[in-house]
Amino acid sequence: MTSPFLSSAEGLIARKPVLGGLVAALMTEGQYDFWSRELGSTAAWRRVFARVVAAQWEAADTLTLTLRPNRNLGQVSAGQHLTVSADIAGRRHCRSYSLSRLASGRDICLTVRREPGGLVSNFLHDHVQVGDVLELSQPYGDLATGLVSDATRPLLMLAAGSGITAIYNLLASMAASGRSLQGELLYWEKQPDRFCFTEELNRLQAEHAGLRVSRFCNATEGREDAERGRLDAALAARLAGAYPAASIVACGGGAFVTAARELLGGVGKEFRAEAFTPSFATIDDETDEQFYELVLRRSGKTLRVSSRQSLLEQIEDAGLSPEHGCRMGICNSCSCQQRGGESVNELSGAALRGQGAVRLCVSRANSDLELDL
């Protein structure tokens, strides 16, 4: 339940600086956020919290959550993603999901498929209820830039599995803006009961004479409206012939997107792709040295790092001088945010996957890595 007091307080903060300034003089950000949550509001100083206002099954093991964010969420646009943070057993875990259905007002919808062993997806499926509050990141991604405005070119959209979420969002928002859709959507699922947005896509197809939706499923128990077949050279040739000037968008797992890029990268006017499966290395034997790519976000550098040496040393060897103190894992000076990938803390042996704080001096890379440095 949103507390009337806090939603008005939130309004005051939004209308900075005078009253917001007064609140700032009396309390810290942490305190403001604490009391807001304590009184049942999602208002926050800067952070984006959102209340789950609805949950709806999309297909087997696929759930759409409608979220009502506080005012701190910036403008979202079609095809973008958001990172969802959930507190699971005392730790905050973050995963990124694409916008899916169009929601009313400032609400947003995210569609989450349960992944085998997926910590956050399983948590969202099993534990999150209407009324709960999750933290969101600001939206990011520019899959749609240019696509939405350039209505003249046909669209060729390829989705595999959860890749449909972003693609459906793009199509739905283009249709909602009054544009007549031209082109084809090709959509693969491994199991027939996993197809999402079936009614909605059929309706779009019915309403837009120029749009064709093709579904593919190779499971033995097929589905009437699905063909068989993978994305291969023959299919690519057909598409290239049919849509010589299309804008191509591909979304799916890493392997799918790589195949799409190889087969269709040179076709059409432009090619955009987004892959959602990260490639984590498994924790390997200490003895064999691995090399990974380390992306430093703030300094815009990319380094090749070994799994054998501390991140701090290797970053220093590259000529940067990150903050540090003791160099033995006790002072926390070298702590920095990891944005993606996996690192291992040598002191505790604990692996950190995805986002979190890393102590550079005692951590090493265990996959390609991205740091806020």
Binding site: L22, A25, L26, T28, E29, G30, Q31, D33, F34, W35, E38, R47, S85, D87, A89, G90, R91, R92, H93, C94, G325, C326, M328, G329, I330, C331, N332, S333, S335, C336, L347, S348, G349, A350, Q355, G356, A357, R359
Partner: protein, 366 residues
């Protein structure tokens, strides 16, 4: 063999390595166990602290009525103590980084005292914890103001040291705030006024905000009770200063706490480092709430051995540490608050007068 006053025996290099390995293993075990329980603990403490502050400030608005003033001041003081020690200090050590909550991130937490967190992370987390009780390197040895060990050079001005110490206790948060400026370096010309001015800017910015909050904005909100709120806030700050001073001084300046010479750093091994942490620190005995209100720094020894382990686990770890100490013939320095504080006071008084260092206690047997 020079004879030392240490109650601990020197370890052979082999023993030292084994000693270090045992503590490393203990630390790994502790870190591996960290999780939901710790998250629940710190969230509960934060909730208690926030409610105490709310209640304390609320009561002060009715502070014209003396019992309300007293209780309000006390609750506000306790909330400031909790925020300072169990929350701020421990969060800034990164003990709760595992939670990935931006509000509890060690690298960015800003605590509610006049010292800036960035300065503290440098002077405390880094210098003090890495170079614990090394004279001339760890500024916490006397805070550049007091002579607490005979190894520090005497000067006639130290005769007034009991007075300085009392002032430091009353104004402790300010002492911490300017510690990293190292004003002493002005006197011997190792720092310029311009440099001090530059470094003082963030300290000033932060302290101005807190001064305005406690001594202007909250009192103004109380309208006619301006003075009752102001005085309550002032006393609450004094309570916290005295408390933190007491706990912190008991952590390193009791009779058996040892001070070290820079030379210990030459090729110092992990085991050696642990040994120095152990011998330079001292604990306080007490009940559950006493430990919580001291930010569990009543277990200064465990804190120095394992600064990144959530502090509420120190009490449990201390049994293992004591057992290890027994096996390696190391003195585990602990006592009640009155006893340990008495020793601190004695140190302050004794070393205000000239005193000669006893032969240095060896850490490693040759």
């Amino acid at each position: 063999m020079s004879q030392s006053k240490s109650k601990s025996r020197a370890l052979s290099p082999e023993e030292l390595a084994a000693f270090g390995a045992e503590l490393d293993a203990l630390q790994q075990q502790a870190i591996a166990a960290v999780g939901e329980r710790d998250a629940r603990y710190i969230r509960r403490i934060i909730r208690v602290q926030q409610y105490l502050e709310f209640a304390g400030r609320g009561l002060l608005f009715a502070g014209i009525f003396p019992p309300a003033w007293l209780l309000g001041t006390l609750l506000l003081g306790i909330s400031k103590i909790l925020e300072n020690m169990e929350i701020g200090h421990n969060v800034m050590h990164g003990q709760y980084d595992f939670m990935n909550d931006p509000a509890l991130s060690g690298a960015s937490y800003e605590w509610d005292t006049v010292g800036t967190s960035d300065n503290w992370r440098e002077s405390h987390n880094y210098k003090h914890h890495t170079y614990t009780n090394i004279k001339g390197v760890d500024d916490d040895v006397g805070y550049g103001l007091l002579r607490l060990f005979p190894e520090q050079r005497w000067h006639p001005a130290f005769i007034l040291q009991p007075l300085f110490a009392a002032l430091l206790a009353l104004l402790f948060q300010w002492g911490v705030a300017i510690q990293e400026l190292q004003l002493g370096k002005l006197l011997n010309g190792r720092k310029s006024w311009a440099q001090i001015r530059r470094e003082f800017r963030p300290v000033w910015r932060k302290s101005r905000r807190l001064l305005l909050k406690d001594y202007l904005f909250f009192p103004l909100l109380a309208g006619p009770f301006f003075l009752t709120v102001l005085s309550g806030n002032l006393v609450a700050n004094l309570i916290r200063n005295l408390w933190t001073f007491t706990i912190i001084f008991c952590g390193h300046f009791t009779t058996d706490a040892e001070v070290f010479h820079r030379s210990v750093l030459d090729g110092e091994s992990r085991g050696h480092w642990y040994l120095r942490q152990l011998r330079g620190s001292s604990n306080l005995r007490g009940g559950k709430w006493f430990h919580i209100l001291s930010g569990n720094l009543s277990h200064q020894i465990e804190h120095h051995l394992f600064p990144t382990v959530p502090a509420h686990r120190y009490q449990g770890l201390s049994l293992d540490v004591q057992e290890i100490c027994r096996r390696y013939g190391q003195h585990y320095n602990t006592g009640s608050l009155p006893r340990q504080f008495g020793q601190v006071v004695w140190r302050i008084l004794r070393h205000s007068m000239p005193s000669a260092p006893a032969p240095r206690a060896a850490l490693i047997a040759r």
